[in-house]
Amino acid sequence: MAVNRAGRRGYWSHVWRQFKRNRLAVGGLYVVLGLLTIAVLADLISSDKPYYMRYRGIDYFPIFRGYLVKLGVTKWPPELLNVNYKELGTERALFPPVPYRPDGIDLTAPFADPSLGHWLGTDKLGRDVMAGIIHGARISLSVGFVSVGISLLIGVSLGALAGFFGSWVDLVISRVFELMLAIPTFFLLITIAAVMPPSIFLTMAIIGLTSWVGIGRFTRNEFLKIRNLDYVTAAVALGVSSRSVMFRHILPNALAPVMVSVVLGVAAAILVESSLSFLGIGVPADLVTWGSILNEARSNTFAWWLAVFPGAAIFVTVLAYYMVGEGLRDALDPRLRGSEG
């Protein structure tokens, strides 16, 4: 077991070395990590509450207090309930670099041009675009990860079953794959999203439920290949249970090409989510996402900032994930180069 683990570490460090050689892929990785940081720290970068303020002689840390209130540990003091911190008349206050909430409506400043006050302008309700994009990163990335997690679960299970057991199990599951390939996925997606009540979690689930075919087929093919290797035969001969052979012996070795699909799948899910919210399907109307800001540009073509910035955010994110995915594909196995994703 110890030898095995050392060997595996050797493999992954080899993959990492290969990956690092690809400058584009490393660049993509930095962007991905940067986006993750923005998504995690969204509240600290963009919020209408200050980090720190002194008000009537008392020190407050409203952003952090906000977290505690959400957790139910504490409550807002009555004098700070639903206040506009900027007009509170604080003695001292330190605001985040983007002092707006993504859904903070300001009807006095609709369609404001990008300026020092609103770096990327505002939309028709005076909501700050920069804040929308920063908090939209959180939505986009979580949709990407959760839906790929769902499709990974479905795809790997079905693919593993089909590839491992073969015969009629494979036949049935392969027909299901064919069906999913033949069905117009995006149309299926907007149909389900439109008939269900709008919810971001439902959107994640729907994207996951409609995008597992690629992963499923990859897993099946890998399992078919690996199942006939000597070490698997040996494991079966030793009386190891099917489940254990599948998940402990075959799966770790089948994961390499699946990982590429996972990374590319995150990009695809982000694209789909932005298309859905662009079409106004699946996400609640008051939720600010990259796609929903972009959608506003369609009917207000003079407000170019509503088109340029959220779209660029989608583009950069998707491109970064593609680059990481391609780099990973090359690093994992040069023979996979150019094969279907």
């Binding site: 064919e178 069905i183 149309f187 299926l188 008939v195 009540p197 298309s275 003079f302």
Partner: protein
């Protein structure tokens, strides 16, 4: 060949049943009663507002009559059976919205979407094949890398962004007015215009949608082309051709290109079924009255007969794609014989 097509059709039956069944279940098990939703604003709103009891009875009766008219009061399996039976006579039922036959609505819009997609398919192949040939014959050169990278970036470019940017900056807003922001023809378009005027107007309107529908395909296809050509270039008959003194252009265009077109043809099978899906966004952005827009509006209005019909049409397109690519395959590669292919 006839036997092969028959065999294909037979294999397609379960897929077809599957697709229609899935779309049927989604539309019929979705929360919300289409009768009340569709009556929304009129009868439905009255129900919600709590109108008086006797009026409520009338409303309920009207809704029930409406349900009976569309057969929605019957059990699900009966409804599906009726739907399938009607399909054999190409009867897709009537639209919930205006009681017009769905088949007519689809036929009316099909040419638009088909035109859009055929043009974009042509553009994709016209751009991607030369690009792929260039990349393969100049593999690992600077030009190859630039081509590959550009195609890759285009692949990642979200169509919702590209479309919106095109409308904002090129579609006659506050910036350039190079192209119309939507529609298929100008408002004053009339069939009496001279032919070239009509063609010019249509081309002007179709340019942006077609380009936007195509650019994403460049990357995949040119890359397939490149890989395919590199593979063929490494084969013995190419060396033989060169050894017997054929010019490089004859080797490339006559020997290599023809053989590397094979995978390009099979890709066609996967492009056709995506037609409706792919057109949804473009047709919505540019207000083009095609199947994509019809589908999008039907989905929003819960016009289920139309939604079901569109799923069916896509399923048929899938079959058509497979058939066409198989037939083309035998044209490009005579070694492939029908019926004997066992994949």
């Amino acid at each position: 060949m006839g036997r092969y097509i028959l065999q294909r059709l037979f294999l397609f039956v379960p897929t077809f049943i599957g697709i229609t069944l899935i779309s049927f279940l989604i539309t019929h098990l979705a929360p919300g009663d289409p009768a009340e939703l569709l009556a929304g604003g009129g009868l439905g709103a009255g129900v919600a507002a709590g109108i008086s009891v006797e009026k409520r009875g009338t409303v309920d009766q009207a809704l029930a009559e409406w349900r009976a008219q569309f057969g929605l009061d019957r059990p699900l399996h009966v409804q599906y059976g009726v739907w399938l039976k009607n399909l054999f006579t190409l009867n897709f039922g009537d639209s919930f919205k205006d009681n017009q036959p769905v088949a007519g609505k689809i036929l009316e819009r099909l040419p638009v979407t088909v035109k859009l997609n055929i043009l974009s398919l042509l553009l994709v192949y016209l751009v991607a094949i030369p690009l792929g040939v260039y990349s393969a014959t100049h593999s690992y050169s600077f030009g190859d890398q630039v081509t590959t990278f550009t195609a890759f970036v285009l692949f990642a470019l979200p169509i919702v962004w590209a479309g919106t940017m095109a409308i904002v900056f090129l579609g006659g807003g506050d910036f350039l007015y190079l192209f119309p922001p939507g529609g298929l023809t100008s408002i004053d378009y009339s069939p009496e215009w001279p032919l070239w005027e009509r063609l010019k107007d249509q081309a002007w309107h179709l340019f942006l949608p077609v380009v936007l529908l195509s650019y994403g395909g460049f990357a995949g296809l040119s890359r397939y082309m490149r890989t395919g050509m590199l593979e063929v270039l490494g084969q013995d008959f190419v060396r033989t051709a060169r050894a017997k003194g054929l010019s490089e252009s004859i080797v490339i265009y006559k020997h290599v290109l023809r053989n590397s077109l094979i995978p390009m043809v099979t890709i066609l099978a996967s492009i056709l079924p995506g037609m409706i899906s792919g057109s949804v966004i473009i047709e919505t952005i540019f207000s083009i009255p095609g199947l994509g827009q019809l589908g999008y509006q039907a989905v929003l209005a819960r016009d289920y007969p139309i939604v079901m019909a569109l799923f069916t049409v896509s399923a048929l397109l899938t079959l058509l794609g497979i058939l066409i690519s198989d037939i083309l395959l035998s044209v490009v590669d005579p070694r492939i014989a029908f019926g004997r292919r066992q994949s």
